[in-house]
Protein backbone atom coordinates (compact mmCIF):
# COMPACT_ATOMS: atom_id res chain seq x y z
CA UNK A 1 0.00 0.00 0.00
CA UNK A 2 0.90 3.60 -0.25
CA UNK A 3 2.53 3.06 -3.63
CA UNK A 4 1.97 6.66 -4.41
CA UNK A 5 4.02 8.14 -1.65
CA UNK A 6 6.69 5.50 -1.79
CA UNK A 7 7.71 5.68 -5.41
CA UNK A 8 9.90 8.09 -7.23
CA UNK A 9 8.23 8.39 -10.55
CA UNK A 10 10.08 8.03 -13.79
CA UNK A 11 13.45 6.36 -13.98
CA UNK A 12 15.50 9.49 -14.35
CA UNK A 13 18.23 10.04 -11.81
CA UNK A 14 19.81 13.44 -11.83
CA UNK A 15 23.49 13.55 -12.58
CA UNK A 16 26.16 15.07 -14.75
CA UNK A 17 27.92 12.03 -16.11
CA UNK A 18 29.11 11.84 -19.70
CA UNK A 19 26.07 9.84 -20.66
CA UNK A 20 23.76 12.40 -19.09
CA UNK A 21 25.35 15.06 -21.23
CA UNK A 22 24.90 13.43 -24.60
CA UNK A 23 22.18 15.08 -26.68
CA UNK A 24 18.96 13.06 -26.22
CA UNK A 25 18.42 12.84 -29.98
CA UNK A 26 21.73 11.07 -30.42
CA UNK A 27 20.91 8.84 -27.48
CA UNK A 28 17.59 7.82 -28.99
CA UNK A 29 19.20 6.98 -32.32
CA UNK A 30 21.98 5.03 -30.64
CA UNK A 31 19.49 3.21 -28.44
CA UNK A 32 17.60 2.04 -31.49
CA UNK A 33 20.81 1.04 -33.27
CA UNK A 34 22.04 -0.93 -30.26
CA UNK A 35 18.73 -2.68 -29.78
CA UNK A 36 18.68 -3.71 -33.43
CA UNK A 37 22.21 -4.96 -33.14
CA UNK A 38 21.41 -6.98 -30.04
CA UNK A 39 18.47 -8.58 -31.79
CA UNK A 40 20.73 -9.77 -34.56
CA UNK A 41 23.41 -11.42 -32.46
CA UNK A 42 23.60 -15.13 -32.94
CA UNK A 43 26.83 -15.91 -31.18
CA UNK A 44 27.68 -16.11 -27.54
CA UNK A 45 30.76 -13.96 -28.02
CA UNK A 46 28.48 -11.27 -29.38
CA UNK A 47 26.76 -11.08 -26.02
CA UNK A 48 30.12 -10.89 -24.28
CA UNK A 49 31.18 -7.91 -26.39
CA UNK A 50 27.87 -6.20 -25.78
CA UNK A 51 28.10 -6.99 -22.09
CA UNK A 52 31.46 -5.26 -21.98
CA UNK A 53 30.04 -2.29 -23.85
CA UNK A 54 27.19 -2.07 -21.36
CA UNK A 55 29.50 -2.24 -18.39
CA UNK A 56 31.49 0.62 -19.86
CA UNK A 57 28.33 2.68 -20.36
CA UNK A 58 27.12 1.90 -16.87
CA UNK A 59 30.43 3.10 -15.47
CA UNK A 60 30.37 6.25 -17.58
CA UNK A 61 26.83 7.07 -16.46
CA UNK A 62 27.63 6.75 -12.75
CA UNK A 63 24.86 4.19 -12.36
CA UNK A 64 24.99 0.99 -10.39
CA UNK A 65 24.82 -2.37 -12.15
CA UNK A 66 22.98 -3.88 -9.22
CA UNK A 67 20.46 -1.09 -9.09
CA UNK A 68 19.46 -1.82 -12.67
CA UNK A 69 19.48 -5.54 -11.98
CA UNK A 70 17.10 -5.01 -9.07
CA UNK A 71 14.62 -3.54 -11.51
CA UNK A 72 14.08 -7.03 -12.87
CA UNK A 73 12.93 -8.34 -9.51
CA UNK A 74 9.20 -7.59 -9.90
CA UNK A 75 9.04 -9.25 -13.30
CA UNK A 76 11.19 -12.24 -12.40
CA UNK A 77 8.25 -14.67 -12.21
CA UNK A 78 7.10 -13.63 -15.65
CA UNK A 79 10.60 -13.99 -17.09
CA UNK A 80 10.92 -17.47 -15.62
CA UNK A 81 7.50 -18.40 -16.92
CA UNK A 82 8.36 -17.27 -20.44
CA UNK A 83 11.68 -19.10 -20.25
CA UNK A 84 9.97 -22.30 -19.21
CA UNK A 85 7.39 -22.02 -21.96
CA UNK A 86 10.11 -21.43 -24.52
CA UNK A 87 12.06 -24.43 -23.40
CA UNK A 88 9.01 -26.64 -23.38
CA UNK A 89 7.67 -25.57 -26.73
CA UNK A 90 10.91 -25.19 -28.61
CA UNK A 91 10.35 -26.11 -32.20
CA UNK A 92 13.24 -27.02 -34.36
CA UNK A 93 16.00 -29.52 -34.58
CA UNK A 94 15.80 -31.21 -31.21
CA UNK A 95 19.20 -32.78 -31.11
CA UNK A 96 19.78 -34.47 -27.80
CA UNK A 97 16.52 -34.83 -25.89
CA UNK A 98 16.73 -34.68 -22.12
CA UNK A 99 13.15 -35.29 -21.21
CA UNK A 100 10.00 -36.22 -23.06
CA UNK A 101 6.35 -36.39 -22.12
CA UNK A 102 3.57 -36.33 -24.70
CA UNK A 103 4.36 -33.50 -27.08
CA UNK A 104 6.70 -31.79 -24.64
CA UNK A 105 10.33 -32.28 -25.65
CA UNK A 106 13.01 -30.63 -23.58
CA UNK A 107 16.26 -30.68 -25.48
CA UNK A 108 19.71 -29.31 -24.86
CA UNK A 109 19.43 -27.09 -27.90
CA UNK A 110 16.06 -25.88 -26.70
CA UNK A 111 17.50 -24.82 -23.38
CA UNK A 112 20.48 -23.16 -25.06
CA UNK A 113 18.41 -21.17 -27.51
CA UNK A 114 15.81 -20.11 -24.95
CA UNK A 115 18.42 -18.92 -22.48
CA UNK A 116 20.18 -17.04 -25.24
CA UNK A 117 17.02 -15.24 -26.22
CA UNK A 118 16.35 -14.39 -22.60
CA UNK A 119 19.88 -13.06 -22.25
CA UNK A 120 19.40 -10.80 -25.24
CA UNK A 121 16.14 -9.51 -23.78
CA UNK A 122 17.92 -8.71 -20.54
CA UNK A 123 20.63 -6.87 -22.45
CA UNK A 124 17.99 -4.79 -24.17
CA UNK A 125 16.47 -4.09 -20.77
CA UNK A 126 19.85 -2.92 -19.49
CA UNK A 127 20.59 -0.53 -22.33
CA UNK A 128 17.06 0.89 -22.14
CA UNK A 129 17.38 1.37 -18.39
CA UNK A 130 20.63 3.25 -18.80
CA UNK A 131 18.93 5.43 -21.35
CA UNK A 132 16.00 6.31 -19.12
CA UNK A 133 18.19 6.74 -16.07
CA UNK A 134 20.15 9.43 -17.82
CA UNK A 135 17.49 11.21 -19.83
CA UNK A 136 14.78 13.43 -18.41
CA UNK A 137 11.30 12.70 -19.69
CA UNK A 138 10.86 16.18 -20.98
CA UNK A 139 14.14 16.06 -22.94
CA UNK A 140 13.14 12.68 -24.25
CA UNK A 141 9.77 13.86 -25.56
CA UNK A 142 11.33 16.98 -27.06
CA UNK A 143 13.99 14.93 -28.80
CA UNK A 144 11.43 12.42 -30.07
CA UNK A 145 9.32 15.21 -31.41
CA UNK A 146 12.26 16.70 -33.25
CA UNK A 147 13.27 13.39 -34.70
CA UNK A 148 9.84 12.53 -36.08
CA UNK A 149 9.00 16.10 -37.05
CA UNK A 150 10.07 15.65 -40.68
CA UNK A 151 7.37 13.00 -40.92
CA UNK A 152 4.79 15.77 -40.61
CA UNK A 153 5.50 16.56 -44.24
CA UNK A 154 3.75 13.33 -45.15
CA UNK A 155 0.92 14.25 -42.83
CA UNK A 156 2.11 12.07 -39.97
CA UNK A 157 0.88 13.65 -36.69
CA UNK A 158 4.26 13.73 -34.94
CA UNK A 159 3.46 16.44 -32.46
CA UNK A 160 0.11 15.03 -31.48
CA UNK A 161 1.56 11.60 -30.81
CA UNK A 162 4.25 13.07 -28.63
CA UNK A 163 1.58 15.07 -26.81
CA UNK A 164 -0.27 11.85 -26.04
CA UNK A 165 2.94 10.43 -24.60
CA UNK A 166 3.61 13.55 -22.52
CA UNK A 167 0.14 13.58 -21.04
CA UNK A 168 0.08 9.84 -20.41
CA UNK A 169 3.36 10.04 -18.54
CA UNK A 170 2.26 13.06 -16.55
CA UNK A 171 -0.84 11.23 -15.36
CA UNK A 172 0.79 8.02 -14.23
CA UNK A 173 1.23 9.21 -10.61
CA UNK A 174 -2.29 10.60 -10.57
CA UNK A 175 -3.82 7.35 -11.75
CA UNK A 176 -1.71 5.35 -9.32
CA UNK A 177 -3.01 7.49 -6.49
CA UNK A 178 -6.55 6.99 -7.65
CA UNK A 179 -6.06 3.26 -8.03
CA UNK A 180 -4.82 3.10 -4.47
CA UNK A 181 -7.89 4.92 -3.26
CA UNK A 182 -10.16 2.54 -5.14
CA UNK A 183 -8.32 -0.44 -3.73
CA UNK A 184 -8.64 0.86 -0.20
CA UNK A 185 -12.35 1.50 -0.69
CA UNK A 186 -12.84 -2.09 -1.77
CA UNK A 187 -10.64 -3.47 1.00
CA UNK A 188 -12.73 -1.47 3.45
CA UNK A 189 -15.72 -3.44 2.15
CA UNK A 190 -14.00 -6.74 2.76
CA UNK A 191 -12.38 -7.40 -0.61
CA UNK A 192 -9.32 -9.64 -0.52
CA UNK A 193 -7.25 -8.20 -3.27
CA UNK A 194 -4.13 -10.12 -2.33
CA UNK A 195 -5.53 -13.58 -2.17
CA UNK A 196 -6.47 -16.13 -4.77
CA UNK A 197 -4.73 -17.50 -7.79
CA UNK A 198 -3.73 -15.46 -10.79
CA UNK A 199 -7.09 -15.70 -12.52
CA UNK A 200 -9.10 -14.81 -9.42
CA UNK A 201 -6.88 -11.83 -8.74
CA UNK A 202 -7.17 -10.70 -12.34
CA UNK A 203 -10.93 -10.73 -12.05
CA UNK A 204 -10.79 -8.73 -8.83
CA UNK A 205 -8.47 -6.27 -10.53
CA UNK A 206 -10.99 -5.76 -13.31
CA UNK A 207 -13.37 -4.43 -10.69
CA UNK A 208 -10.87 -1.65 -10.11
CA UNK A 209 -10.19 -0.98 -13.74
CA UNK A 210 -13.75 0.01 -14.53
CA UNK A 211 -14.01 2.96 -12.15
CA UNK A 212 -10.40 3.88 -12.98
CA UNK A 213 -11.17 3.91 -16.66
CA UNK A 214 -14.34 5.94 -16.16
CA UNK A 215 -12.44 8.45 -14.07
CA UNK A 216 -9.60 8.61 -16.60
CA UNK A 217 -12.16 9.30 -19.28
CA UNK A 218 -13.66 12.09 -17.19
CA UNK A 219 -10.19 13.55 -16.69
CA UNK A 220 -9.58 13.42 -20.41
CA UNK A 221 -12.75 15.42 -21.00
CA UNK A 222 -11.67 18.05 -18.48
CA UNK A 223 -8.21 18.15 -20.01
CA UNK A 224 -9.57 18.75 -23.49
CA UNK A 225 -11.52 21.75 -22.19
CA UNK A 226 -8.48 23.09 -20.38
CA UNK A 227 -6.24 22.64 -23.40
CA UNK A 228 -8.69 24.22 -25.81
CA UNK A 229 -9.23 27.11 -23.42
CA UNK A 230 -5.50 27.65 -23.59
CA UNK A 231 -5.69 27.77 -27.38
CA UNK A 232 -4.27 24.35 -28.12
CA UNK A 233 -5.01 23.29 -31.68
CA UNK A 234 -2.41 20.67 -32.43
CA UNK A 235 1.18 21.20 -33.40
CA UNK A 236 0.64 23.76 -36.12
CA UNK A 237 1.98 27.16 -35.24
CA UNK A 238 3.24 26.18 -31.80
CA UNK A 239 6.48 27.67 -30.59
CA UNK A 240 9.10 24.96 -30.42
CA UNK A 241 11.77 24.63 -27.85
CA UNK A 242 15.12 25.85 -29.07
CA UNK A 243 17.15 22.94 -30.34
CA UNK A 244 20.56 22.77 -28.83
CA UNK A 245 23.48 22.48 -31.18
CA UNK A 246 25.20 19.15 -31.29
CA UNK A 247 28.53 19.16 -29.52
CA UNK A 248 31.70 17.21 -29.91
CA UNK A 249 30.68 14.74 -27.20
CA UNK A 250 27.64 13.83 -29.25
CA UNK A 251 29.69 13.17 -32.38
CA UNK A 252 32.32 11.23 -30.48
CA UNK A 253 29.84 8.96 -28.76
CA UNK A 254 28.03 8.32 -32.01
CA UNK A 255 31.20 7.47 -33.90
CA UNK A 256 32.53 5.39 -31.02
CA UNK A 257 29.37 3.31 -30.81
CA UNK A 258 29.14 2.71 -34.54
CA UNK A 259 32.82 1.79 -34.70
CA UNK A 260 32.56 -0.52 -31.72
CA UNK A 261 29.65 -2.48 -33.10
CA UNK A 262 31.06 -2.64 -36.59
CA UNK A 263 34.36 -3.95 -35.25
CA UNK A 264 32.56 -6.44 -33.04
CA UNK A 265 30.60 -7.72 -35.97
CA UNK A 266 33.65 -8.01 -38.18
CA UNK A 267 35.79 -9.62 -35.46
CA UNK A 268 33.22 -12.29 -34.69
CA UNK A 269 32.70 -13.07 -38.34
CA UNK A 270 36.38 -13.09 -39.23
CA UNK A 271 37.58 -15.15 -36.34
CA UNK A 272 34.43 -17.28 -36.41
CA UNK A 273 34.04 -16.84 -32.69
CA UNK A 274 31.46 -19.10 -31.02
Amino acid sequence: MELYKNTIFGFYREGDSLIHKIDPRIKIILLIVIIIFISFIRTFSGTVFIGLFLLLIIKLSNSSFFYILKGLKPVLPIILLILIFQIIFYIGEPGKILFQWNFIKISVLGIKVSCFMMLKAILIYFISSIFFLTTEMISFTDAMERLILPLQKIKFPSHEIIMVGVIAFRFVPTLVEELERLMKAQIARGADLDRGNFIVRAIKLSGLLIPLFISAYGRAEDLVLAMESRCYRGGKGRTRRIAKKLKSLDFTSFIFTVLFFSLTFITIRYFRLP
Partner: protein
Protein backbone atom coordinates in the same frame (compact mmCIF):
# COMPACT_ATOMS: atom_id res chain seq x y z
CA UNK B 1 -16.78 44.55 -22.93
CA UNK B 2 -18.80 41.35 -22.80
CA UNK B 3 -22.35 41.55 -24.03
CA UNK B 4 -24.77 38.69 -23.60
CA UNK B 5 -28.14 39.11 -25.22
CA UNK B 6 -31.16 36.89 -24.62
CA UNK B 7 -29.03 33.78 -24.30
CA UNK B 8 -30.78 30.43 -24.35
CA UNK B 9 -28.96 27.12 -24.27
CA UNK B 10 -30.17 23.54 -24.40
CA UNK B 11 -27.99 20.45 -24.02
CA UNK B 12 -28.75 17.60 -26.44
CA UNK B 13 -31.39 19.59 -28.34
CA UNK B 14 -32.10 16.82 -30.84
CA UNK B 15 -32.26 13.93 -28.41
CA UNK B 16 -35.12 12.44 -26.47
CA UNK B 17 -34.09 14.30 -23.33
CA UNK B 18 -33.10 17.85 -24.19
CA UNK B 19 -31.99 19.78 -21.10
CA UNK B 20 -32.62 23.49 -21.07
CA UNK B 21 -29.72 24.97 -19.15
CA UNK B 22 -30.03 28.72 -19.75
CA UNK B 23 -33.12 30.82 -20.34
CA UNK B 24 -33.17 34.44 -21.51
CA UNK B 25 -29.88 35.45 -19.94
CA UNK B 26 -28.88 39.02 -20.70
CA UNK B 27 -26.06 40.95 -19.11
CA UNK B 28 -23.04 43.12 -19.84
CA UNK B 29 -19.69 43.08 -18.16
CA UNK B 30 -17.45 46.12 -18.42
CA UNK B 31 -13.70 46.00 -18.57
CA UNK B 32 -12.05 46.00 -15.18
CA UNK B 33 -15.06 44.67 -13.25
CA UNK B 34 -14.89 41.89 -10.68
CA UNK B 35 -18.16 40.05 -11.06
CA UNK B 36 -19.12 37.02 -9.01
CA UNK B 37 -21.70 34.47 -10.06
CA UNK B 38 -23.48 32.41 -7.43
CA UNK B 39 -25.98 29.63 -7.65
CA UNK B 40 -26.66 26.06 -6.69
CA UNK B 41 -25.13 23.20 -8.64
CA UNK B 42 -27.15 22.93 -11.80
CA UNK B 43 -28.23 26.58 -11.84
CA UNK B 44 -26.38 27.21 -15.09
CA UNK B 45 -23.28 29.04 -13.81
CA UNK B 46 -20.73 26.81 -15.52
CA UNK B 47 -22.85 26.61 -18.67
CA UNK B 48 -22.88 30.40 -18.81
CA UNK B 49 -19.12 30.57 -18.22
CA UNK B 50 -18.48 28.15 -21.08
CA UNK B 51 -20.27 30.50 -23.45
CA UNK B 52 -17.79 33.23 -22.69
CA UNK B 53 -14.87 31.46 -24.28
CA UNK B 54 -16.91 29.76 -26.95
CA UNK B 55 -16.71 26.25 -25.55
CA UNK B 56 -20.46 26.37 -26.02
CA UNK B 57 -22.39 28.28 -28.67
CA UNK B 58 -25.84 29.72 -27.88
CA UNK B 59 -28.87 27.77 -29.00
CA UNK B 60 -30.58 31.15 -29.27
CA UNK B 61 -29.32 34.66 -28.59
CA UNK B 62 -25.80 36.03 -28.80
CA UNK B 63 -22.58 36.40 -26.89
CA UNK B 64 -20.24 39.20 -27.96
CA UNK B 65 -16.69 39.50 -26.64
CA UNK B 66 -15.38 42.97 -27.56
CA UNK B 67 -17.91 42.98 -30.38
CA UNK B 68 -16.77 39.57 -31.70
CA UNK B 69 -19.63 37.12 -31.99
CA UNK B 70 -18.92 33.66 -30.57
CA UNK B 71 -21.05 32.02 -33.24
CA UNK B 72 -18.47 32.57 -35.96
CA UNK B 73 -16.13 29.66 -36.04
CA UNK B 74 -13.32 31.73 -37.53
CA UNK B 75 -13.30 33.90 -34.43
CA UNK B 76 -12.77 31.00 -32.06
CA UNK B 77 -9.10 31.53 -31.38
CA UNK B 78 -9.34 35.32 -31.26
CA UNK B 79 -11.91 34.93 -28.52
CA UNK B 80 -9.78 32.49 -26.59
CA UNK B 81 -6.86 34.88 -26.77
CA UNK B 82 -9.04 37.36 -24.95
CA UNK B 83 -10.86 35.11 -22.51
CA UNK B 84 -8.95 32.72 -20.26
CA UNK B 85 -10.55 30.15 -18.02
CA UNK B 86 -9.52 28.45 -14.79
CA UNK B 87 -11.53 25.37 -13.87
CA UNK B 88 -12.34 23.74 -10.58
CA UNK B 89 -10.01 20.77 -10.48
CA UNK B 90 -6.37 21.76 -10.88
CA UNK B 91 -5.35 18.14 -11.35
CA UNK B 92 -7.13 17.93 -14.69
CA UNK B 93 -5.72 21.18 -16.04
CA UNK B 94 -2.03 20.54 -15.67
CA UNK B 95 -0.67 18.94 -18.80
CA UNK B 96 3.11 18.99 -18.68
CA UNK B 97 5.57 17.29 -16.40
CA UNK B 98 7.01 20.37 -14.75
CA UNK B 99 5.55 23.61 -13.43
CA UNK B 100 7.53 25.78 -15.79
CA UNK B 101 6.71 23.83 -18.89
CA UNK B 102 3.02 23.77 -18.03
CA UNK B 103 2.90 27.54 -17.60
CA UNK B 104 4.61 27.84 -21.00
CA UNK B 105 1.97 25.65 -22.64
CA UNK B 106 -0.55 28.43 -23.31
CA UNK B 107 1.87 30.99 -24.77
CA UNK B 108 3.47 28.25 -26.89
CA UNK B 109 0.08 27.54 -28.39
CA UNK B 110 -0.14 31.19 -29.36
CA UNK B 111 3.11 30.96 -31.32
CA UNK B 112 4.77 33.71 -29.30
CA UNK B 113 8.57 33.78 -29.67
CA UNK B 114 10.63 31.89 -27.15
CA UNK B 115 12.29 34.88 -25.50
CA UNK B 116 8.94 36.55 -24.86
CA UNK B 117 7.53 33.28 -23.52
CA UNK B 118 10.33 32.90 -20.98
CA UNK B 119 9.73 36.49 -19.95
CA UNK B 120 6.01 35.98 -19.41
CA UNK B 121 6.54 32.71 -17.58
CA UNK B 122 9.03 34.37 -15.24
CA UNK B 123 6.54 37.14 -14.48
CA UNK B 124 3.68 34.72 -13.84
CA UNK B 125 5.82 32.56 -11.60
CA UNK B 126 6.76 35.61 -9.57
CA UNK B 127 3.20 36.85 -9.31
CA UNK B 128 1.97 33.50 -8.03
CA UNK B 129 4.92 32.86 -5.73
CA UNK B 130 6.05 29.70 -7.50
CA UNK B 131 9.78 30.38 -7.92
CA UNK B 132 10.81 27.60 -5.60
CA UNK B 133 8.64 25.06 -7.43
CA UNK B 134 9.54 25.82 -11.03
CA UNK B 135 11.03 22.45 -11.85
CA UNK B 136 8.76 20.32 -9.69
CA UNK B 137 6.53 17.70 -11.27
CA UNK B 138 2.83 18.25 -10.58
CA UNK B 139 2.31 15.21 -8.36
CA UNK B 140 4.70 16.64 -5.81
CA UNK B 141 2.66 19.80 -5.34
CA UNK B 142 -0.15 20.36 -2.87
CA UNK B 143 -3.52 21.00 -4.42
CA UNK B 144 -3.32 24.71 -3.57
CA UNK B 145 -0.03 25.01 -5.40
CA UNK B 146 -1.43 23.12 -8.37
CA UNK B 147 -4.22 25.64 -8.66
CA UNK B 148 -1.67 28.46 -8.54
CA UNK B 149 0.17 26.80 -11.41
CA UNK B 150 -3.05 26.70 -13.41
CA UNK B 151 -3.71 30.36 -12.76
CA UNK B 152 -0.12 31.25 -13.66
CA UNK B 153 -0.60 29.40 -16.94
CA UNK B 154 -3.64 31.47 -17.83
CA UNK B 155 -1.92 34.69 -16.74
CA UNK B 156 1.02 33.96 -19.01
CA UNK B 157 -1.40 34.03 -21.93
CA UNK B 158 -2.16 37.66 -21.16
CA UNK B 159 -5.93 37.43 -21.59
CA UNK B 160 -8.08 40.49 -20.89
CA UNK B 161 -10.86 38.54 -19.27
CA UNK B 162 -10.35 35.66 -16.87
CA UNK B 163 -13.15 33.36 -15.78
CA UNK B 164 -12.69 31.41 -12.57
CA UNK B 165 -15.05 28.48 -12.18
CA UNK B 166 -15.09 27.67 -8.46
CA UNK B 167 -11.30 27.78 -8.30
CA UNK B 168 -11.09 27.26 -4.55
CA UNK B 169 -13.77 24.66 -4.01
CA UNK B 170 -11.37 21.73 -3.92
CA UNK B 171 -8.83 23.41 -1.67
CA UNK B 172 -8.40 23.27 2.09
CA UNK B 173 -9.44 26.41 4.04
CA UNK B 174 -5.95 27.91 4.10
CA UNK B 175 -5.45 27.16 0.42
CA UNK B 176 -8.79 28.82 -0.32
CA UNK B 177 -7.71 32.00 1.41
CA UNK B 178 -4.31 32.07 -0.27
CA UNK B 179 -5.57 31.49 -3.78
CA UNK B 180 -8.43 33.95 -3.41
CA UNK B 181 -6.04 36.56 -2.03
CA UNK B 182 -3.84 36.17 -5.09
CA UNK B 183 -6.81 36.52 -7.44
CA UNK B 184 -8.01 39.63 -5.65
CA UNK B 185 -4.59 41.20 -6.03
CA UNK B 186 -4.47 40.48 -9.74
CA UNK B 187 -6.41 43.61 -10.46
CA UNK B 188 -3.80 45.74 -8.80
CA UNK B 189 -1.04 44.28 -10.94
CA UNK B 190 -2.81 43.78 -14.26
CA UNK B 191 -5.60 45.11 -16.39
CA UNK B 192 -7.95 42.17 -16.07
CA UNK B 193 -11.67 41.70 -15.90
CA UNK B 194 -12.54 38.89 -13.52
CA UNK B 195 -15.62 36.72 -13.62
CA UNK B 196 -15.69 34.56 -10.53
CA UNK B 197 -18.02 31.64 -9.94
CA UNK B 198 -18.31 30.55 -6.33
CA UNK B 199 -20.43 29.23 -3.49
CA UNK B 200 -18.51 30.98 -0.79
CA UNK B 201 -20.04 34.12 0.59
CA UNK B 202 -16.73 35.47 1.88
CA UNK B 203 -15.54 35.49 -1.71
CA UNK B 204 -18.69 37.11 -3.09
CA UNK B 205 -18.38 39.89 -0.53
CA UNK B 206 -15.15 41.12 -2.09
CA UNK B 207 -16.54 41.48 -5.60
CA UNK B 208 -17.97 44.63 -7.20
CA UNK B 209 -21.08 42.93 -8.41
CA UNK B 210 -22.90 39.67 -7.69
CA UNK B 211 -25.14 37.75 -10.06
CA UNK B 212 -27.39 35.10 -8.57
CA UNK B 213 -28.60 32.32 -10.84
CA UNK B 214 -31.22 29.67 -10.45
CA UNK B 215 -32.56 27.11 -12.91
CA UNK B 216 -30.82 28.74 -15.81
CA UNK B 217 -32.06 32.26 -15.17
CA UNK B 218 -30.56 35.32 -13.60
CA UNK B 219 -32.49 36.03 -10.44
CA UNK B 220 -30.52 38.90 -8.94
CA UNK B 221 -27.81 41.18 -10.34
CA UNK B 222 -26.56 43.84 -7.95
CA UNK B 223 -23.90 44.81 -5.48
CA UNK B 224 -23.09 42.22 -2.79
CA UNK B 225 -24.65 44.34 -0.02
CA UNK B 226 -27.97 44.52 -1.79
CA UNK B 227 -27.92 40.83 -2.67
CA UNK B 228 -27.19 39.74 0.87
CA UNK B 229 -30.00 41.73 2.35
CA UNK B 230 -32.41 39.53 0.38
CA UNK B 231 -32.05 36.60 2.74
CA UNK B 232 -35.37 34.99 1.95
CA UNK B 233 -34.49 34.65 -1.71
CA UNK B 234 -31.03 33.30 -0.94
CA UNK B 235 -32.49 30.72 1.43
CA UNK B 236 -35.15 29.65 -1.04
CA UNK B 237 -32.37 28.98 -3.53
CA UNK B 238 -30.50 26.84 -0.96
CA UNK B 239 -27.59 29.23 -0.94
CA UNK B 240 -25.40 29.94 2.01
CA UNK B 241 -26.41 33.01 3.90
CA UNK B 242 -23.48 35.03 5.17
CA UNK B 243 -23.35 35.52 8.90
CA UNK B 244 -23.67 39.28 9.27
CA UNK B 245 -26.84 39.74 7.24
CA UNK B 246 -28.24 36.64 8.93
CA UNK B 247 -27.56 38.03 12.41
CA UNK B 248 -28.96 41.42 11.44
CA UNK B 249 -32.14 39.84 10.24
CA UNK B 250 -32.52 37.71 13.37
CA UNK B 251 -31.95 40.66 15.68
CA UNK B 252 -34.37 42.74 13.67
CA UNK B 253 -37.04 40.10 14.16
CA UNK B 254 -36.53 40.34 17.89
CA UNK B 255 -36.97 44.07 17.95
CA UNK B 256 -33.44 45.40 17.66
CA UNK B 257 -33.27 47.67 14.68
CA UNK B 258 -30.21 47.10 12.56
CA UNK B 259 -30.12 48.02 8.88
CA UNK B 260 -30.25 44.96 6.64
CA UNK B 261 -27.73 46.15 4.11
CA UNK B 262 -24.67 45.64 6.27
CA UNK B 263 -22.31 42.88 5.25
CA UNK B 264 -19.09 43.28 7.21
CA UNK B 265 -18.46 42.71 10.87
CA UNK B 266 -17.12 46.25 11.20
CA UNK B 267 -20.39 47.67 9.92
CA UNK B 268 -22.24 45.57 12.48
CA UNK B 269 -20.01 46.89 15.23
CA UNK B 270 -20.68 50.46 14.18
CA UNK B 271 -24.43 49.91 14.15
CA UNK B 272 -24.42 48.20 17.53
CA UNK B 273 -22.37 50.98 19.08
CA UNK B 274 -24.82 53.54 17.83
CA UNK B 275 -27.77 51.89 19.51
Amino acid sequence: MIKINDLHFTYYPESKNPQKALTAVSLSIKEGEFVSIIGQNGSGKTTLAKHLNAILIPTKGSVLIDEINTRNNENLWDIRKKVGMVFQNPENQIICSTVRSDISFGPENLGINRVEIENRVDKSIELMGLSKYQDYPPHMLSIGLKQKVTIAGVLAMGTKYIIFDEPTSMLDPLGKKEVFEVILNLRKKRQVTIIYITHLMEEVLKSDRAIVMSEGKIVLDDSPEKIFSKLKILRSLSLDVPIIPDISSRLNKRGISIPLQIITTQELVNCLKQL
